[in-house]
Symmetry: C2
Subunit: 412 residues, 2 copies
């Protein structure tokens, strides 16, 4: 039995979501952007709206891809212009509004304006996001219809519908809540189960009733995202549309003045960590959730470099898919990562089974490690052997023929 | 019809190899390191030897992986100690002698010493390489037997046997020769068709009859390797054992004094380029050879960064496997590479079919591009839109379910 477990959702309310903190209402509606599957009895939800009663502190982290979609440009502008105040997040699925040129920029602006008009706020207090097919224009008429329906449906129990409305081919919805002292944090996300043409887009929304300024919220979001959403990978791809929003309604009356205050950071980390791991678990073709732990790194950057390289290694991911305790691939991936690595002092374990200890193979434990690899959740640990004290943890999934099948299918 | 073709082997003699330049003899023998397949009628060749009559100029490029196998350490040492003089290269397949600790280092030294004794030269004039299973000790008794057999078999027509002896699960042998003015260059390589546990190892040997000093040969090898062996990828993995050796017998009497002299560089590039593309063509599960051309980059480093990211992108490689002219994935991969990228001025073509021109999609050409993707050789071109003049070309293969199947199989 593997004693090294993935963090359990013990602090997480799986029935909760973005409307768990007071001060938020949400809706998810169908407005015709997604095509209705031939077998479906109703139109798929494709527009989500989350609103507060008045402008509140807001923050975001965006994709590092230089090919950014129009809604990313608009949301970034709006947060700057408003000084981190927002009343709403609007998200459509079914069309990414990416690589759509000047026309796409106009549509993203009009999407925000439509929500602002309906709520009676400034356009720069509305954040927008899109996910779906790239290079196709987003139909603003459908968005206007959807916004009208969503504003009418807004509800303090609207989290489920909103969560479903941002899904593409995600195999399951991802939403939860957590609390610490008197602060509640809720969240929803969509992952890399993708739609045609299957550009992975990771979107997330975190809500809280903490009373916090925009800069402190932004700092907390950045800290939390680095350990959660930025610590996962399905295939190393980073989309044109990735973003995570945070909004703080302040309704708890609990003031947070430092971005490392555990009262806010801990429930945020619980929610974001759970959502991030759910994204990996729902990755295309994924059959196993893999935790990659790096220790003994000479620097923080080295620890992350090694973790990222191992977590994205096709040879590592196919070995884990095949249940093969192939420590040689783990050693080779860490070795090629660019991180400082001392082979003669390096160690590798699968679960709690040591397979390579200070440069010495322990192949007699291979069968034990193979048994560990039968589980749905697997932890691999690599000590880089430098004697350094830095470490990093990333989550990834295995790599199956199903991933190739899904992504090799012709679009049309 | 796609007018953009992969460089043709017009300057390459496909019947040639490492013994094409005068002054080299080679052999390939079976010494029991590889297991005999149940269906085989004879033992598989697993030891290659290439020798010159006297010590000659030699050079090498080695893996950048920090987990280096024992033979890499020994060959690097020998080149340093001998000042770039060598009489022989000995290579075994079936065992990588990697992650084998002090015992493995002793075996690598003894492997060189066995050849040196048989030839009557200094041990540091022998270069060694290994490819195969990682973490398993190499049996020096078998190597000694193999060296004895190989020395007896050395022949000026031994190129074919030597080429076969370094294969692992390569689907075909890779060898050729080329000439320019009075200089002949020959070469052989093995690629990323791998053996249990399928650690990709790229090995190559280039031979020439040019009269050239070791430093000039080393400079020429580095130049050529950067545009050929370092410009290919199957899955982004870089093994513990990768190396390419070059030896110059001087028998042509043609003196080369600069490492950029076309008389040497051009045939070296022809041979190395052909071998490199053959490695990609023989990649695990590969069905298409893909040339990735980056232009309009702001710097040399950016051009290579973008080329490498696109060439290793699972979404790009699965799309090409599926014959899907998915320019959005090409844009997104270039965008996330870290290279400067201007979406509104970027362009993408598949073959000669433009699909995205200065930020504007041309989806009406998708069917034309889909036809281009039916070919066994495909060129994709991405202009990063920065107005810069830097470019890079890399070769990769598509990504098939067969790759996953091969690499997910349990070792034993």
């Amino acid at each position: 039995v593997d004693a090294l477990a993935v963090p359990s959702p013990v602090h997480v309310d799986l029935g909760g979501g973005v409307t768990s903190p007071r001060g938020f209402r949400a809706a998810g509606v169908a407005c015709g952007i997604k095509r209705r599957p031939a077998t479906a009895t109703s139109a798929p939800l494709d527009l989500a709206l989350i609103v507060t009663e008045a402008p509140v502190a807001a923050a975001a982290v965006f994709t590092t891809n230089r090919a950014v979609a129009a809604p990313v440009v608009v949301s970034r502008e709006h947060l700057q212009r408003s000084g981190g105040r927002a009343r709403a997040v609007v998200i459509n699925s079914g069309c990414a509004n990416a690589a759509t040129g000047a026309a796409g920029m106009r549509v993203a602006h009009e999407m925000a304006a439509a929500v602002a008009e309906a709520l009676g706020c400034a356009a720069d207090q509305v954040l927008v996001a899109s996910t779906g097919v790239i290079g196709v224009q987003l139909d603003i008429a459908k968005i206007r219809t959807g916004v009208g329906l969503a504003v009418r449906d807004l509800d303090a129990r609207g989290s489920d519908a909103a969560t479903r409305a941002i899904m593409t081919t995600d195999p399951f919805p991802k939403s939860c809540a957590s609390s610490s002292r008197s602060i509640v944090v809720g969240g929803m996300a969509k992952g890399s189960g993708m739609i045609e043409p299957r550009m992975a887009t990771m979107l997330g929304v975190l809500t809280t009733d903490a009373e916090v300024s925009a800069p402190v919220l932004a700092g907390a979001l950045r800290r939390v995202a680095d350990e959660t959403f930025n610590a996962i990978t399905v295939d190393g791809e980073c989309s044109t549309n990735d973003c995570v929003f945070a909004m703080a309604s302040g309704t708890s009356g609990v003031q947070i003045t430092h971005d490392d205050d555990p009262a806010l950071i801990e429930p945020m980390r619980d929610v974001a960590g759970h959502l991030a791991r759910e994204i990996v678990r729902g990755g295309e073709g994924a059959t196993r959730l893999v935790t990659v732990r790096i220790s003994g790194a000479a620097s923080h950057a080295d620890a992350w470099l090694a973790a990222r390289t191992v977590a994205n290694s096709p040879l590592v991911k196919t070995a884990i898919h095949g249940g093969d305790p192939n420590w040689g691939r783990l050693v080779a991936a860490a070795g090629r990562s660019g991180a400082e690595f001392v082979l003669d002092r390096a160690s590798v374990s699968i679960g709690t089974v040591p397979l390579f200890v200070a440069g010495v193979p322990h192949d007699e434990r291979a069968d034990d490690a193979a048994r560990v690899l039968q589980a749905k959740e697997v932890v691999v640990t690599i000590d880089l052997g430098t004697g350094g004290s830095h470490s990093a943890t990333m989550w990834t999934c295995d790599f199956s023929a199903e991933y190739v099948r899904i992504n090799a299918e012709y679009r049309t």
